[in-house]
Symmetry: C2
Subunit: 215 residues, 2 copies
DNA sequence: ACCTGAACACCGTTCAAGT
DNA sequence: ACCTGAACACCGTTCAAGT
């Protein structure tokens, strides 16, 4: 509890005024990123929102880019952790793919953040992180298709197809919200994708029964 | 040829110094948009590049937003024209879908521009245009699936699936370039998508032969 | 009609000075 | 060690003045 308390403070209550930390700035930047995009990661507005001057910022960071880098590191940890979270627990390769599909279509906040960042992948700093996250996800998907019984080559084709569909769904959901299926339509849409991208694949290897379709 | 020549100019050559036009600014803005994203649409840098002062800009436009609006109008015309261009010439519904698929996977520059703009769809001005373009494309795709013989409902499901895949491909191509199939792999990937999203659908209606797969 | 030039506000960055 | 406050550069916007 006393981690950030200045050792020279006389009364304990003064410690409550707690100095800024790199983490606090990074989290604020990530929130700004999610709601307002890259350009919302602005030092002065963030400083105002946090109740300090921008001079304070430059004590913790070299510049705006360093703040971005810290926020991106946070995001990368989230994405790579979430992507594998719980999925590895399932031992059946079909179940793992099913969970990945569910996850990809569930979190619209995470999806928006990804799109915001992917959008700014022209920026070399952002681009590097986005590429790392994308490739990690594709690698994992590829592995799942291999476990399902596909050849290296077929797994490459279908994992790319599936991933493109995931990402595209988030985009369509954002850019044509009127047209994106909801409610019962969405459940049917989800089944259709699952059948096309997973069930009909496991049928190729002839070992998996289509039981999870009703979950 | 004398449209923008000041009537009071004494020597004809002076006209060559040609005043700025709304169109010239809009095209410059669109170029900046394609290469540097939304934030590259900046008045002062554009003015420098065009060899005028920013004061000139504010004669033609109320503000930066108006410039963006003009650039977006240009883009919208391109996208809606290109989307239908040549496709309507084909009378066979399968051929139309085939052409749309080919088109969607061909122009990476157009794809990048779309992603740049879709990225900035948090901005109300950009968002409105992106949504119009997205919904027009989905409406057209939907119509194609109807013509292929699908029910209204099935056409909704499959056109969404297909469009999500289009958009997602562009994103994967940009965000995981190492992983996106090229050459012979890409041709195979393309066939796989075409078979899944179109051929197997027309088989449902039982009227179309899979001849174009070898094109 | 169209453009320049000076002015002001806002944000990024620096740095000397405070505690 | 951490923060403030003033300074400067850059870009958006305005507007009086030029041609």
């Amino acid at each position: 509890m006393s981690a950030t308390v200045p050792s020279s403070s006389i009364t304990p209550e003064v410690a409550a005024k707690s100095n800024m930390t790199v983490e606090a700035w990074a989290e604020a930047a990530l929130e700004a990123l999610a709601s307002g995009g890259l350009e919302a990661v602005a030092v002065e507005p963030l400083a105002r929102r946090l109740g300090v001057t921008k001079g304070s910022f430059y004590w913790h960071f070299a510049n705006r880019d360093a703040l971005l880098r810290a926020a991106l590191a946070l995001w990368e940890r989230h994405e790579t952790a979430d992507a594998i979270h719980g999925v590895e627990a399932a031992k059946d390769p079909f179940d793992r793919l099913f969970l990945l599909f569910k996850q990809a279509n569930a979190s619209h906040k995470a999806g928006r953040l990804y799109l915001s960042l992917a959008a700014a992948s022209g920026d070399p700093v952002v681009g590097a992180v986005v590429r790392r996250v994308s490739e990690l996800r594709l690698t994992y998907l590829h592995k799942c298709y291999i476990d399902l019984g596909l050849s290296e080559h077929d797994a490459m084709l279908w994992s790319t197809f599936a991933y493109a569909t995931f990402i595209g769904n988030q985009q369509v959901h954002r850019d044509a919200p009127e047209r994106f299926p909801t409610g019962a339509d969405f459940r049917e849409y989800f089944k259709l994708m699952l059948k096309t991208l997973v069930l009909d694949r496991s049928a190729d290897s002839g070992t998996i029964s289509p039981r999870s379709l009703e979950a």
